[in-house]
């Protein structure tokens, strides 16, 4: 049968892992496929049934369930399932149901095994457990961090301007004015691209005018011959060192011996100004909300710079959180300038990712106010409402959008005396409700940024003590922590969003980092840790020895890798002048990243399965 033009072949060519197979092999697969239609709601595989085919979703959607009836996974077009019962030659353990009207392609076992044996890439893809790869990748990245550098050609902003050694200094001065530059590279009269010297503004001043030389003096007589240069592959810090050691302000950059640009000390200063520390000091210098919001480009630049310098996710998350915290602190100072000193002591709280030191550039604001117990709504209410409004509006202006769940200090419920807060947390832990559990994932990561910050520490201690002693609460929290599933099919194919604006993408936060930090929070509370940062919580969890060997480090690698893909995605967005988001298209990232990302998601999926065993969440509350 000739199959070149057949639909099934076209479909296979579009989907991993089949697209990696050679053409003739694919044709063979296409001719061995069987097909079946399932109406929405119909059962495709039942527990205990025998099954001898790999199932591929051709169209529609399929849900895979755990034996306890809980939804395990949702597969869209190209998703694969049923292979576990096939590979283990055992009855079906995970039932499958058609969510939509669904067309299934079946690949017979024998053919599948043949492909598995013959094509390494195919079997690699199919392999379920191989977390070693990911660990290697993450380690390699950390080695790179030690360099903390970016290549010097990052600083080049324009092509170098050359002038012939036989030109006059007047011609040189005219060219410099025209081009609006402070230095020229001097080229060999014969070979116009070879650099033999450099001439600067300063040379004109000190060697021509001060010496009373004629403007017809040739460039070759006043230039600095054989200047200090740097190769384009060197790092910025080396350029800085070179300029300092030789006391030069212009440094020609060479690529393969040819000049490709000149960097000035000002470039280095500008570069340094994107340093997060510099940004923080600018925030504290700002005299108004407008002045703070004018720093947004600098904040973004310092973010992309850290990414380019291979900083790890903990460093970047901390730096961005420091910036966010600084903005809050500055806004509070400005508010107090406007409203006067507070009538009673208070503490401004950062919640969620900022409290965890895991903030990135795209984020909304979660915050709250703790007031002194002497709070009297009639006397003090107006002051704190105004204060909260000033800060929340200011944050919104600085790019931290309002919290959609209204978890902000402007909400009366989240602007309460310390004793009320103690009551909130106690009640949430002792009598959890679905709503309070959702709150827990935001409020349990808390950090005092202004005022009586010791109150925040007190609440943190209260949470750690009460939660650890309440297995019921931990079980409820576990249920929440496994709500968001990693976007993986059984065969580690990505499950992308099926509709809406973000169709065909994966939300790395919602499906990756958020479920991970939820999970880590449960363990952290279980071991009584008061750490807020997920990596620090993991250290405490590992030290407490409650996970099987290797699981803790696996979780750390997974969090680091997913975070870095997310961070790099946002940096690319910023560099391309797009609004950064958390949605990646799996097809847009390199096969290397894709594979590691799948490994990382697999770790999350496994961890979700494990935590269910540890803190069984199926108790009623």
């Amino acid at each position: 049968m000739e199959v070149e033009q057949l639909e099934i072949l076209t479909f296979l060519k579009d989907h991993v892992p089949f697209r990696w197979l050679p053409e003739e092999e694919l044709s063979k697969v296409a001719t061995e496929i069987d097909v079946s239609y399932f109406r929405a709601g119909a059962t495709i595989l039942e527990v205990g049934q025998t099954n001898s085919d790999i199932h591929i979703v051709r169209s529609g959607a399929v849900e895979i369930y755990l034996r306890n009836g809980e939804l395990f996974n949702r597969l869209g077009e190209g998703g694969m399932f049923g292979q576990q019962s096939v590979l283990t030659k055992s009855p079906v353990r995970f039932p499958a149901k058609a969510l939509d009207d669904t067309l299934i392609y079946f690949i017979p076992y024998a053919l599948f095994i043949e492909l598995f044996d013959r094509y390494e890439r195919f079997s690699d893809f199919v392999e379920l457990e191989n977390n070693k790869r990911l660990s290697h990748t993450v380690t390699r990245r950390q080695d790179a961090n030690e360099l903390m550098t970016s290549p010097v050609n990052k600083l080049i902003t324009r092509e170098p301007v050359l002038i012939s050694e036989s030109a006059t200094v007047k011609e040189a001065a005219c060219l410099m004015s025209e081009e609006d530059i402070s230095c020229l590279l001097v080229a060999d009269a014969q070979d116009s691209v070879s650099m033999i010297g450099i001439m600067t503004d300063r040379d004109l001043r000190t060697r021509v005018i001060a010496q009373g030389l004629d403007y017809t003096t040739l460039v070759r007589h006043i230039m600095t011959p054989a200047p200090i240069t740097i190769d384009s592959s060197h790092f910025v810090f080396e350029a800085m060192l070179t300029m300092l050691t030789h006391n030069v302000h212009h440094l020609p950059v060479l690529h393969l011996g040819k000049p490709v640009g000149v960097i000035g000390i000002s470039d280095i200063i500008r570069y340094e100004s994107h340093n997060s520390l510099f940004v923080v000091s600018s925030i504290f210098d700002a005299q108004s909300v407008e002045e703070i919001s004018a720093l947004i480009p600098d904040i973004h630049a310092s973010f992309t710079r850290m990414v380019n310098e291979d900083a790890n996710s903990h460093m970047i998350g901390s730096a961005m959180s420091v910036i966010g915290r600084s903005i809050k602190q500055r806004l509070l100072a400005l508010a107090q300038e406007q409203l006067g000193e507070p009538p009673i002591p208070y503490c401004f709280l950062a919640l969620g990712s900022m409290a965890r030191d895991e903030q990135l550039v795209l984020t909304d604001q979660d915050n709250a106010l703790i007031l002194d117990d002497s709070y009297n709504a009639e006397l003090h209410g107006e002051y704190f409402l105004k204060l909260a409004r000033f800060v929340c509006d200011g944050l919104a202006e600085c790019g931290y959008s309002y919290c959609t769940g209204n978890i902000m200090a402007t909400n009366t419920r989240w602007r309460q005396p310390l004793s009320v807060w103690r009551g909130y947390f106690t009640e949430w832990i002792e009598q959890p409700t679905p709503e309070s559990l959702l709150n827990s994932s935001i409020f349990f990561d808390l950090d005092g940024v202004w005022g009586q910050t010791e109150w925040a520490d007190e609440l943190t201690a209260l949470i750690a003590k009460k939660a650890q002693a309440s297995p019921h609460f931990l079980a409820c929290l576990t249920r929440n922590a496994i709500n968001r599933k990693p976007p993986l099919g059984f065969f580690k194919d990505f499950v992308v969003e099926k509709d809406g604006e973000h169709r065909n993408t994966i939300n790395l936060k919602r499906r990756g980092t958020a479920p991970l930090s939820d999970l880590i929070r449960v363990y952290a509370l279980a071991v009584g840790s008061t750490a807020q940062n997920s990596f620090e919580r993991l250290d405490d969890i590992i030290a407490a020895n409650i996970l099987p060997p290797g699981r803790g480090p696996d979780l750390r690698d997974a969090l680091e890798f997913i975070s870095m893909v997310r961070i790099r995605h946002q940096a690319l967005d910023l560099e391309a002048d797009r609004v950064p988001d958390n949605n990646i298209e799996p097809e847009q990232i390199s096969p290397f990243e894709r594979r590691n990302l799948k490994d990382a998601f697999q770790i999350v999926a496994n961890a979700q399965k494990f935590i269910v065993i540890k803190y069984p969440p199926n108790r009623r509350f």
């Binding site: 049968m1 057949l6 099934i8 097909v35 239609y37 399932f38 109406r39 009207d101």
Partner: protein
């Protein structure tokens, strides 16, 4: 289309006794292939759909008139309600007796060059009848496959062939055109829903396949029939209710 409209009007009035027809054919046919085909018989009219072996069939032809035009390709896919055995599907390119004209080349995409390597229909008769044997044919729009096959056989072995078919288009028509609601819509001048293969498939969430390849269309027809049964017929429905 409401998703579970049961088919109210029986498609078949049961006037043709296919078992009897096949018995007669087995006695009267002079061609050995045809005799064997009729001897393989058909399921009894009261056989539930779940136990009927089906064969989806699609032809590409040089035109729509069976008395003038000819078959250029044949695609068949055996299936049951449970599973479409695409792996056992067959496809033939067939040399027409009259030369191809340019118009139909545009239509089915089969060119002169393709047909240079094609079989003469005479050689296809035996394998085709063999795969049809014992199965009920499923087609989309029965006025192509049945008359064209009849005529093609008649031209080569001087006797035609008769067989029952399930027409997925007729099933769609009975749902989309004959219901009370459809008739009211028609009275109001609302355009009836398209019952073409691709459009019908869309109503069941089936993917969009490129059409006009006999094998793909046969597969598409088999999938559509499974969907129609899933929505509007029960696996217990006797085949006699829907074959024509």
């Amino acid at each position: 289309m409401s998703n579970s409209t049961p088919i109210k009007t029986p498609l078949s009035d049961g006037s043709v006794d296919w078992l009897l027809n096949f018995e007669r054919g087995a006695k009267q046919a002079s061609s050995a292939f045809l005799k064997a085909y009729y001897q393989s018989s058909v399921p009894a009219a009261d056989t539930p759909l779940s136990r009927v072996p089906f064969l989806a069939m699609d032809f590409e032809t040089t035109g729509l008139d069976a008395s003038r035009d000819e078959i250029v390709s044949i695609g068949v896919v055996p299936f049951t309600l449970e599973r479409i055995h695409y792996s056992q599907s067959k496809h033939w390119l067939v040399k027409p007796i009259a030369p191809l004209n340019a118009d139909s080349v545009v239509f089915h995409g089969i060119t002169h060059r393709d047909l240079d390597e094609a079989e003469d229909f005479e050689n296809v008769i035996e394998p085709l009848l063999k795969v049809m044997a014992g199965r009920v044919l499923v087609v989309h729009y029965r006025y192509i496959e049945r008359p064209f096959l009849y005529r093609a056989l008649e031209q080569r072995i001087n006797e035609g062939v008769v067989f029952p078919v399930v027409d997925t288009m007729a099933i769609e028509a009975s749902l989309c055109r004959s219901s009370m609601w459809a008739r009211i819509k028609q009275k109001l001048g609302i355009k009836p829903e398209s019952i073409r293969l691709g459009d019908s498939r869309m109503r069941y969430g089936l993917p969009n396949y490129p059409s006009h390849h006999a094998l793909t269309d046969a597969l598409a027809t088999a999938e559509l029939f499974q969907a129609e049964v899933a929505y509007h017929l029960s696996p217990e429905t006797p085949i006699g209710d829907i074959w024509l």
